[in-house]
Subunit: 190 residues, 2 copies
């Protein structure tokens, strides 16, 4: 008997992301996805029960990816600002390289596809980020304001930088990256 092919799920996800970045969530069909992935439409239903499940799965995977990468190289023993910078740069790098996920996640937020359950799981993934900001506050390096607010502000800044970069399609210089980090740090620092 033939087994399911994990690589195929990857193909499907890649195809869907590519199409959403180009046409938006409202512009993709199961037919488009299968064509882009180079497989038959029916095959999509071997891996997912339907469009809803496919999109929820992709949403969960995208969220998980970006979080997983964020804390690479971060240790509680490193000085805060340096660690914060590491995480910040990780996130930025990831989002620049995976712009399609940025767009996809944004579009999903107000879509009927994502279930409350999927949303809840996404929220849980944010816990380490809250911890990070709170550490900074305890060390008196970060403003003592609503943690969620500071966090959204920081993520918003990164997202905007990524989008700006993409739309103006210039490659982001080291200098510009450092500058934006400074913008962000100046905003959050106590």
């Amino acid at each position: 008997m033939k087994l399911k092919d994990d690589r195929k799920v990857e193909l499907i996800f890649e195809a869907a992301l590519k199409l959403v970045a180009k046409k938006g969530l409202s512009g993709i069909t199961m037919g488009d996805i299968s064509r882009e992935a180079g497989i038959a439409t029916g095959t999509l239903y071997v891996y997912f029960t339907g469009k809803d499940e496919l999109i929820n799965a992709l949403f969960a995977a995208s969220r998980a990816n970006s979080v997983q990468v964020a804390f690479r190289g971060y240790e509680l023993t490193t000085p805060f600002k340096l660690g914060f910078r590491t995480v910040w740069m990780n996130i930025l790098r990831y989002k620049l390289q995976h712009f399609e996920e940025v767009v996809f996640l944004e579009q999903c937020y107000h879509s009927p596809y994502i279930t409350e359950e999927t949303r809840e799981k996404a929220r849980e993934l944010a816990v380490p980020f809250f911890d990070l900001i709170e550490r900074g506050q305890q060390e008196m390096l970060i403003k003592t304001a609503d943690t969620g607010l500071l966090l959204t502000f920081m993520m918003g800044a990164i997202n905007e930088l990524v989008k700006q970069t993409h739309y103006s399609n210039e490659t982001l210089s080291k200098k510009k990256i450092d500058l934006t980090f400074d913008l962000c740090w100046d905003a959050l620092k106590a």
Copy 2:
């Protein structure tokens, strides 16, 4: 003979915005819009040639609205920081009150509905904002970095605050508003 009813366009727009904020751009149908607006589906086609035109028109109107309000009370003669603050607060107030437009515009950016022509018109509307930032730079009050970058950063911060506020559905206190303005100012100031 009967004349077209401007109020009806408003009704259609309101209905579409409401639905997009709830279900996303991918979740709305012409039927939904007409039902929500309390008119017949066919009537939509008296006012718009089809779904594409309806959405483009709403996009243009939403963009124009938020810009139009931004410079209310701003004069070139007022000191920069005060003027900047006025504009910043205008934008924030508007977006809080018109959250649905924020969501709608965001969703439209990567949709197949919005034509290049509509996008171009939207870009032109941003000119006064560039002028504002450039004024600040000339007065040495704002960092001398890519104007577009600073602008996106500022808008991003406001957008994020608006979204954060909405999702956590608490009313935004004066204190929190001032804090976020400070975050933003600290980020941009020279």
